[in-house]
Symmetry: C2
Subunit: 369 residues, 2 copies
């Protein structure tokens, strides 16, 4: 099966095999070694001298951890959103009692930092900004570096980032860009099965933690910090996925982050060129299109469910539909982690064969154009 | 390695191998089938006609879920505790704003239901009772059936249970015993790696959920319920551990719960007889000793760290020490899941060889006694 959804993605065989290693004591010396080794290397990937913690949870769990560890009830926060996952970030903050101000940009567009600057100027009582680096629901990458310059550089606010589908795939520098907490999850660029989430946590985030009154237990980073000092997790972790993480980080750092980012940029371009070559339109503006997930408009006259269903049934390629209000309007191709050119070409070929059968009439592509 | 801590425990090879299966779409038909099949069979193991949800978290996460989904800030709850994990249950409720009344029994003893009855009579404003079925830190099993008769039968209170090291190992009947929410985790009797937790949730728990104002997002069971209706998890789950769960449930239900319980009772007795045969003393009263974990007193003159260290180094058997105030005072042998007689005999043999080398002078065991 060519699993081309935006996570989980196919996991290299060797990494999958490391999931089958026999259990070890999560409070013993072998685990301690793995915990320290993986934590150190996660910091390299996040480009941070701050902390990174490993949680047994999905990415949403890590988003919740970013919120409840730094904010207090009644805190005013700005949620800058460009899609479904951005909205989720705001919902989490609201559930835990933050006063959420929303700055929403239309689906398919990216954050306009000028607007962020405007809101932060007008509302100096905002304590933190929540933002999605790469919005999986719309296939858009925000310019997090520019956002960081405004949020941290100009206004010195806490910056909490959903980096779930970006960290380890797209360039991101936690410290240099002023990110205080970045959440990500194993089933994305890390080439791993789901089961673990990672959260970076800056010195500034720790200061906020000291004042935070949002309730937390399983996701209380103070416990993670305290236990990390003795080389242990606070609660029994997904040991198998830790084995796989250890293995995946070998591969990732051996390849080098520069090459990992370049590979994602290339595969993103290949995917976009492929779908455009079929006469389809990208959902976002190409300038802000993501290199980890490509969102494509469902052409007029085509039924999204039928298209996605036949691509799977006839060609064994699994692509994703749109979420919430985008359901039926877009489909999405995931290409994070170690996606090969072949896998993308197979996906494009499958679409080429299925599209005419589900009512798509391609606009004539000008010859030699 | 003979991993004899109270979880994780050694996982059968075939189940470990299922952890290496390629990824699938957690929102696709294959996963839906696995989710429904595993959920149905989990209900059989819990003996409930109510709900059971699968969380990607440790057992502590499921304990938090039991609390935050049924209680409100200011609710008065009775935490009936016999050890470290019982204390944790109360801490979680307190962190989320419950008013926690503690009924603590000494480490090594079990809950006296008469005392529970007394407190519930004296304090009719108590809304819920939290209790540990099997206390991993002291090796004690509480009589949950008797507790349920008092808490539910006589006083009709919400009953929230930490069944982490009991469900699927010790007899437990969620509905018949009046349990509204029971938390457990994959690395215990289920013969699985850690990574998943399971939570049973009664109709009465749902009524409490409707009134509950404790904040929750990742652990909000309403999301799990809503998504289960369409055969999906709300957030990306630990798919590999789901594959393994599917496989383990085949084995468990094929064997039959009666046989599973009998096997645990036999192995528990074998372990206790083994340690007593060495001249060691059980930490709890034998009448309440657990069949999933055996806690043993560290004899006078023996250093716990030295004993545990040499058992591992010289014999490749990993046993656990005591937690918190029990550190240095007890060691613990885990025997949940598919523990064999050989594994226990090997453990006893290792102890027999190491004990004299670390200063243990056995009391003379009367010949023919």
């Amino acid at each position: 099966m060519n699993l081309r959804i935006p996570g989980p993605i196919p996991v290299p065989k060797e990494i999958l095999e490391s999931m089958s290693r026999p259990m070890i004591n999560h409070r013993g010396p072998e685990f301690k070694e793995i915990l320290y080794r993986t934590t150190d290397r996660l910091k390299q990937v996040f480009e941070t001298k701050g902390d990174v913690y490993i949680l047994t949870a999905s990415g949403t769990g890590a988003m919740e951890a970013a919120v409840v560890n730094t904010l207090s009830r009644g805190d005013k926060v700005l949620n800058v959103t460009v899609g479904v996952f951005g909205e989720r970030f705001g919902e989490i903050a609201e559930v835990y009692g933050a006063q959420v101000e929303t700055l929403a940009f239309p689906y398919g567009t990216a954050v306009d930092t000028e607007e962020v600057r405007k809101v932060l100027s007008q509302q100096p009582d905002i304590k933190a900004v929540l933002v999605t680096h790469n919005e999986t629901s719309t296939g858009v990458t925000n310019d997090l570096e520019a956002i960081g310059k405004v949020v941290k550089g100009e206004f010195d606010k806490l910056l909490l980032v959903d980096g779930i589908s970006s960290v380890c795939s797209l360039p991101l520098s936690a410290d240099a860009w002023g990110c205080d907490a970045i959440a990500t999850a194993s089933q994305k660029g890390w080439m791993l099965p789901p089961g673990l989430a990672f959260l970076s946590f800056s010195e500034r985030a720790w200061q906020a933690h000291a004042e935070s009154d949002m309730p937390k237990f399983y996701f209380d980073m103070a416990q993670y910090k305290r236990y990390l000092e003795i080389g242990q997790p606070p609660y029994t972790p997904s040991i198998s996925t830790m084995f796989a993480l250890d293995n995946a980080l070998d591969k990732i750092l051996q390849e080098g982050m520069g090459s990992v980012f370049e590979r994602h940029a290339t595969i993103g371009r290949l995917t976009r060129d492929g779908v455009k070559g079929l006469g389809l339109s990208l959902f976002p503006d190409e300038l802000v299109a993501s290199d980890t997930v490509t969102a494509v408009k469902i052409p007029v006259g085509v039924d999204a469910g039928l298209l996605i269903g036949r691509v799977k049934e006839d060609h064994n390629v699994v692509i994703a539909g749109g979420q919430k209000s985008l359901s039926g309007k877009i489909f999405r191709i995931g290409h994070m982690g170690r996606t090969t050119d072949d896998e993308i070409e197979q996906t494009i070929a499958a679409l080429a064969k299925v599209l005419p059968k589900v009512g798509f009439k391609a606009a004539r592509v000008p010859a030699g154009g």
